[in-house]
Amino acid sequence: MTTWKPWLAAFALAPAALTALAQSHSQDAQIRVAAASCAACHGTNGVSLGGIPAIAGVDQRQLLEKLLAYKKGELPATVMHQHAKGYSDAELAQLADFFSRQKR
């Protein structure tokens, strides 16, 4: 069964610092997993082998504008408008930020 290490650390670390640490970790992990879903089409970390646009290293703002336009149905697409509608604007911003920081 699972052994939860945070309980051990909790005795030694100030609770506020621990909470901040846990939050930043789980936020990182959450966006990393959401971004990994995109990798099924766009390649691992957004590095596409071709045929589908690579999104690694694309400017955050440019990527976000595109995603929001897909979501609003303002940009013609085959499937991206249907995917973009599954995410909040804040999540799309986090995804755009994640991919903008990946190496091409």
């Binding site: 069964m1 699972t2 052994t3 939860w4 290490k5 945070p6 051990l8 650390a9 005795f11 030694a12 670390l13 610092a17 621990l18 901040a20 640490l21 846990a22 930043s24 970790h25 789980s26 992990a29 959450q30 990393r32 997993v33 959401a34 990994a36 879903s37 995109c38 990798a39 099924a40 089409c41 766009h42 390649g43 691992t44 596409s48 082998l49 071709g50 045929g51 589908i52 085959t78 499937v79 249907q82 995917h83 509608k85 599954g86 995410y87 999540e91």
Partner: protein
Amino acid sequence: MNALNRRSLLGLAGGMAALSLAGCASPARPSQRVVVIGGGFGGATAAKYIRLWAPEIEVVLVEREAAFVSCPLSNLVLGGSQTIEGLTTGYGALQSKYGVRVVRDEALAIDPDKREVRLARGDALRYDRLIVSPGVDFLYNEVPGLESAEAQARVLHAWKAGPQTVALRRQLEALPDGGVYALHIPKAPYRCPPGPYERAAQVAFYFQQHKPRSKVLVLDANPDIVSKKGLFLKAWSERYPGIVEYRPNSALVSVDAGQNLIQLQGESVRAGVLNVVPPQKAGRIATGAGLLSGGKKWVGVDYQTFESLAVPGIHVLGDATLSAPGMPKSGFMANNHAKVAADAVIAVLTGRAPNPVPVIANTCYSFVSDTDVVHVASVHRYDPEKKTLVVVPGSGGLSSQANDTEGRYARAWARNIWADALL
């Protein structure tokens, strides 16, 4: 928090944890090991992503085949626009690039108390966390007449890409012009909901060019086309008029493999090539390990972590899972399951909370010719109250019509997802 602060905090947390541990246990813990059973879309992806995200964790992948052969695109082998070699990828890069230990063997049994996987040939593998991605097994006991290996070698499924795919193509090539190809589809759920209807289009595509007097007869145990109904009906009637015939509610009674005869409720059909996709359940290892849920066919999982509801410490991925509402049994979904599970396993082994609200997605492309494709897509978000993944309202949908832009995307998608799992 900036990166430097986070790092120093991490160092502090690590040091303190070690200190507080020292009083009661050995401070030097050996590296933790995850064993993954099955190197398909789910298992291979999970193995790679654990190593990508947590290189300190040892990963052992157990796979019985020498190479991965993709089910997606394998209907194109029947249509003639794709080779089986082009669908095949080895496991070498998982080992050389990502440090996954790939063991070519068959997992025979799981001992959750000893946390061990017993293998057919090699020594048992100890694990700290186990991921099982076994795909599907065929329920030949539900297809009277196809119980023997001999009968199964004659009436093919070709529902796991590989030698059967090539053999079915040969049967189609040997069929005289004017002969009938009959495809029987089991009751849902089965692997790849749109797959049988794509197959009908691919065989029709081949017949149109080489055997224009031949027919494709789709015998569906379901009351209606399970996926992309309008798009498939349009493709069949406009592209292959007079070739494809669809018969719903065609429950199978028995098969006479020697005669290529299929007995349905109320009628029997003799075909030149008979292709029966048998009913399915989770891969065999799941049955022995006691992982199956109520209906005894699929594995119920906690959709936040993909941990089995029946046996703690074992995460189950892909087609073998009791699918969440609106979730197809697809390679794409298995790939996405794998990433949520990989993160959850790392969370457990490193002592942080699992991802509270996983969001995953699916796109299934189906080829209605050698170039033109239709898709269905969906986005699935974890609902903590319902404790399952639910389709996000307003997300997803279908192609407006078959088109070759998506045909190019579908082939590019395949290359990218194979690489995402294996390269």
